[in-house]
Amino acid sequence: MSEPEVTPALAREHGLTAEEYGRILTIMGRTPNRTELGIFSVMWSEHCSYKSSRKWLRTLPTTAPWVIQGPGENAGVIDIGDGDAAVFKIESHNHPSFIEPYQGAATGVGGILRDVFTMGARPIANLNALRFGDPGHPLTRHLVGGVVSGIGGYGNCMGIPTVAGECEFHASYNGNILVNAMTVGIARADRIFYARSSGPGNPIVYVGSKTGRDGIHGATMASAEFDDNSAEKRPTVQVGDPFTEKLLLEACLELMSSDAIVAIQDMGAAGLTSSSVEMAARGGLGTELDLDRVPRRETGMTAYEIMLSESQERMLLVLKPGREDFARAVFEKWELDFAVIGRVTETGNLVLKEGGRVVAEIPVQPLVDQAPLYDRPWVKTPERAALAAADVPAMATREALTRLLGAPDLASKRWIWEQYDHLVMGNTIVRPGGDAAVVRLPGGKGKKGLAVKTDCTPRYCFADPKRGGAQAVAECWRNLVATGSRPMAATDNLNFANPERPEIMGQLVGCIEGIAQACRALDFPIVSGNVSLYNETNGKGIHPTPVIGGVGLLDDVADAVSIAFEDAGEAIVLIGDTTGWLGCSLYLSALFGREDGAPPPVDLAAERCNGEFVRAAIKARHVTACHDVSNGGLLVALAEMALAGRLGASLEGPQGGVPAHGWWFGEDQARYLIATRAPGEVLALAAKAGVPARRIGTTTKAATLTGGGFEPISLAELSDAHEGWLPSYMARP
């Protein structure tokens, strides 16, 4: 078969710059053939090499005594005591989901699940962070419907509960939606599997689905900007097969309970290429693959296609010698393909053979280590002036609250999570709809559980990347605390526009700086993550969206609290300082269409201090319900607690001279609302700890919000606004 000749032009078509191609020529000492060029291009794509972000990612705090594995493996691993480990990561599937929402989102879930179970963990919770365009944009409804059913379709079939996430709308995502999926799994701390090859001569084994011509060049597509011709890139979308993935999960975990595996890695973006190269590179070894033995579902596939295929539901394993038959029996039991396709070598080269002939040979270390690393120029986002409350129009409290609760960003996302099986496995203790979700560890042994949530406020990040980055971490951390858990570690999904524009690069740098600062201050290391750049169409970029996915630990899930008011006659206590910060608030954007002003400052010392106080109060069983105060401010949080518990509240008016709209809707950080039967004790403890706390009202049987200096508001009316928006939006043709 005649292969096209490799030229600088072909290299350019593969997304390689002239400089990068020059470097390839130096490494190879000759002109590469097309297969070799393809391998370089995917390994050096933004998606696989992190060439624009690597320099900055290194500044993130990634260690702590409880961190077993930080970034660099398939997923991060933390020690959660008693020999248990939590394994988790977040990943984006933005571009494919825009092109084919159902399959794009579904395969995104499949990919992140494999990242987690490849480390020996059984997945116990899925999360999803979604960002869509303006609800009025002609594509939005179709994208929401497809993405949500795709996420559900995959996770539900796998039998992993999807328990938390977020979903927001903004015109900046009109041409570039964000679909970030996170999986959390559980393993034994001494049974973690890594993607580090060892033992020259050891067999390399392919398991899972057969290889087809799926998604060839998917990894480079994920690193390319959209233009009006992107329709032509369409066939690169893959179809997911969750049933096969379920079998793969069970088969891998079964084999992992033996001692047969040396190393294992899923075939994700860049498929067989990245999995074989990365395993070899981590072990400082070489790999020889016989492509004739790769199971395939189409005929006539070239080496290039086999190496670059992104067919889903596949894994690459290095086995201990002599354990092939044992492993084969496990995979055959689960009716999956199993093939020994090569062996680990000492040469340090990736050698591909076809028909006994070498068709590609690349030195592994330079392929990985000499991947380009860019220090892209960046400019700092100009600082905005703070907005005085007096410069923000006031609206009657009742009208403002009703409209906010029915605004797309704050409206209930029940329509979404009811399409997700959030109960399978029988361990969902705090369901979606509040702050973090809480899942108990499986096996019915202990009482331990994990709190999980993703968060980001792109509005803030756009206004002030550093503050926004810190706020995303703080809000995620706070959501974990609000259930009573101890925040342990996080994963991050950095979604940005084109990094070759200095102002976008400035957003990336700023957000990472803020994230790093907050993670340090809160002892909340980043143990895994993903970067998605070029989320830009015809020069229009998304708001910077660094999504933080957090995991917290509960020693006893029976201690967990939800946001729902439990009983009438309980005191409602506000923790944290309220200045009435309306700059960049949802009040401003949802009600007045304005996104001006500086976002609220993030005082990390106060975050930590207030959060530790709240967690201790929950642990001491003083707290019957707890909710962090974020988007929409105090009255929105309070209304959500009332709606969840079907109880009303009688409220005090604004305090400390703060104007009403600032008091009720301002977005000062580091705040929580708690309900308690022991207000005296709570307030005394807060005073002792130096934590600002004041009683702002009492829960009531009557289903209204009264007092507070505003017209009484019935919960029924609020509920209609809150629950009604998304279903009626989606029901429109």
Binding site: S209, G212, R213, P235, V239
Partner: protein, 80 residues
């Protein structure tokens, strides 16, 4: 006029359903079955007397809603 629309996965696109059906059939003892592909079949009535115009409209409907041309092909038949 009556119309029939067949929507099938493009060749080369993975068809997990077809594959599963093939396995199940062989499990039931039906031998010699291969290349099973599952698609969708839609019947409808369209108030349009002119076959060419009906076909045109149906084509539009397929591209806009019924098929996802990223991964699917469609075929239209009209029967007066």
């Amino acid at each position: 006029m009556k119309a029939r629309i067949h929507i099938t996965l493009k060749s080369g696109v993975l068809d997990p359903q077809g594959k599963a059906i093939e396995n199940a059939l062989s499990g039931l003892g039906f031998g010699g079955i291969g290349n099973v592909r599952q698609g969708k079949y839609i019947e409808l009535e369209i108030a349009e007397a002119d076959a060419a115009r009906a076909r045109q409209k149906l084509d539009d409907m397929c591209r806009k809603l019924l098929a996802n041309t990223v991964i699917e092909n469609y075929a239209i038949e009209v029967a007066p």
